[in-house]
Amino acid sequence: MAERLLTTSKAIAEAIAQEMERDERVFVMGEDVGAYGGIFGATEGLLEKFGPERVMDTPISEMGFIGAGVGAAIEGMRPVVELMFVDFFGAAMDQIYNHMAKIHYMSGGRVNVPMVLMTAIGGGYSDAAQHSQCLYGLFAHVPGLKIVVPSTPYDAKGLMIQAIRDEDPVMYFFHKGVMGLGWMTPNPRATGPVPEEPYTVPFGQAAVRREGTDLTILTLSLMVHRSLDAAEKLAEEGISAEVIDLRTLVPLDRETIVESVKKTHRVMIVDEDYKSFGMSGELATIVVEEALDYLDAPPKRLAVPDTPIPYSRPMEQFVIPSVDRIAEAARELVTS
């Protein structure tokens, strides 16, 4: 039978729909998740299927409705809440990190907060400093949140179902550039095979997207695609890059990372989040802690160079890692 192809956004919407069918406790809430279908399509079709009681448009009150999600989860519901852009987290951070993330711990494990907070990340289309950030590194820093960052339609569905069934609070970050939206710069890998039946992708298991021997690229989300494109180029030049898609940052699959680096002896981290005090430093440190003797060169980092995201195209393309700059950095790394 021919494989069924879906975009990532449709895969997410399907995952939520299937869980809503399976479990009455699941409901969706957020800005424009109803008639609009979610600005990035993650809830498209849900209002029509489930009605406004289970697919709730909210006022612009992120602290209020994310906090209400926490309260509803404590009372036994399974809210899937959308924060339209991750950039808006500042309007709700108290509920996210002091409550959603900590109540299980503070209660000595007696209260669960089984809630999914999904949000759009990423730039590259001139949406500037307040609508283009990734920030998964920031959320991974504070304890109590599972951090999920899919890159493919298949994973997007399986990780969303896992997230909804998970007993812990999950932050689910979808990159606008992997959603397969008609109005974003086309990304052929944003459409891919997605089984119709529900399935889960477990947390804490990275995927080796391409095997290689000369260097390991650790990355996630849209940067998986750019790294694979760069690896293609590099292959033509005789450089063999292994590309690892981390899929979740918390829990983190250290084993796959360390195994790969022990094989290739060189590692590069490609990250669309800000460079300093974030993901790239953490991954580099883990590699050094666990495989220092295997390294032929210091870990290399390619990330947003600690500037806000500028609006104008030449500047924006300069700060966000591109296929060319990934390839160039990889070349530098293998010859160092």
């Binding site: 409901f27 009681e53 909210t58 006022p59 009150s61 602290m63 209020g64 409705f65 994310i66 906090g67 209400a68 999600g69 926490v70 309260g71 509803a72 989860a73 404590i74 009372e75 036994g76 519901m77 809210p79 108290d94 509920q95 002091n98 409550h99 109540i103 299980h104 711990y105 503070m106 209660s107 000595g108 494990g109 007696r110 209260v111 669960n112 304890p143 109590g144 599972k146 998970d166 007993e167 812990d168 804490g204 829990p251």
Partner: protein
């Protein structure tokens, strides 16, 4: 709906129970901390915000609540949790940081959770208000007749989460009652300097919900206002806001020098002790003798003493237990 003798005596007992608990915690708190006060020392370390003086609010409201009615509280949570019906032993053990505590020692005085009572609280001002809205949303989705109550201070009514929560509750017509305890201060800042209107009850207008201000030292007044609001919510009539004017008798937290208090203010309010107010009413009615009052006090002292002994004798958690309970599964 005139209150029966039993109802009034139950409330009187609750006032005394809370007071006795708080005053005893206030004593134990200083153990090991003096002569040079060290906040980290003694059997009860950390900050301590006691509820002494405000007992009528928790008591009058919670008298209408069932164990399965969700309640969210604040950094000053003891009164609400006791009025909700907590096991004092587990509560006191938590305040002592013991393994037998409500939260196995992880939460402490400001972070008390009792899922059997649908009770939670926390140290972030305004943090609990949206949770009550979410609990009410869950209730409404399931078609249950439970009601959520959120307690918070008049200081909290100036934070954004208050506004967002009241608006959500109103547009969704949720079964939730917001109880503002106006004890005149947020730490040192008086309401007159922090709040643009005299009464937070008036702020109901901004959400189209009923608001009422009551004398928070008078448990009967609180009971009546709360009854109306809670009944309305239970019958699907939507949210309300109640502001109860009260006073904290012990300062914001233990160690507060209260430099900001106008002279004589506290003494004046001490005259309006909720226990005396109800006690006098009961005595005038002939429903409470001095001996009965003393017996109630003795009973509560014994209960609190028992909780204290339990807490003292309980073991501390092992250091490594700190690593548990971050996630349900990882």
């Amino acid at each position: 709906m005139a209150l029966s003798k039993e109802q009034l005596l139950d409330m009187y007992r609750m006032l005394v129970k809370i007071r006795t608990f708080e005053e005893r915690v206030g004593e134990i708190y200083y153990e090991g901390k003096l002569p040079a006060f060290d906040i980290a020392a003694g059997p009860i370390p950390g900050e301590m915000h006691l509820y002494t003086g405000q007992e009528a609010v928790a008591t009058g409201v919670c008298a209408h609540l069932r164990p399965d009615d969700p309640v969210t509280s604040t950094h000053r949570p003891h009164g609400h949790l006791i009025a909700k019906g907590v096991d004092l032993k587990a509560m006191m053990a938590e305040i002592f940081g013991k393994k037998t505590g409500l939260c196995k020692g992880k939460g402490g005085h400001m972070h008390l959770f009792d899922p059997t009572l649908h009770f939670g609280c926390g140290g972030i001002v305004g943090g609990g208000i949206p949770h009550a809205v979410g609990a009410a949303l869950a209730i409404k989705k399931r078609g249950e007749d439970r009601v959520a109550v959120s307690f918070f201070g008049e200081g909290a009514a100036n934070i954004g989460a208050f506004h967002e929560s009241l608006n959500l509750a109103a547009i969704w017509n949720l079964p939730v009652v917001f109880v503002v305890e106006d004890n005149l201060y947020a730490i040192s800042v008086p309401k007159s300097k922090s709040t643009a209107v005299r009464s937070n009850a008036e702020r109901g207008v901004a959400y189209g919900i009923p608001g009422v201000q009551v004398d928070g030292q008078d448990v009967i007044a609180v009971y009546e206002a709360a009854g109306e609001a809670i009944d309305r919510a239970r019958r699907g009539g939507g949210p309300s806001i109640i502001e109860a004017i009260c006073y904290r008798f012990r300062g914001h937290f233990e160690g507060d020098a209260e430099k900001y208090l106008p002279p004589g203010e506290k003494e004046k309010w001490r005259q309006k002790d909720p226990i005396h107010i109800l006690g006098n009413q009961l005595k005038q009615q002939g429903w409470l003798s001095d001996e009965e009052a003393a017996a109630i006090q003795d009973e509560m002292t014994a209960l609190v003493r028992e909780a204290e002994m339990f807490a003292r004798e309980s073991p501390y958690p092992a250091p490594e237990e700190a690593l548990e309970d971050v996630f349900v599964n990882l």
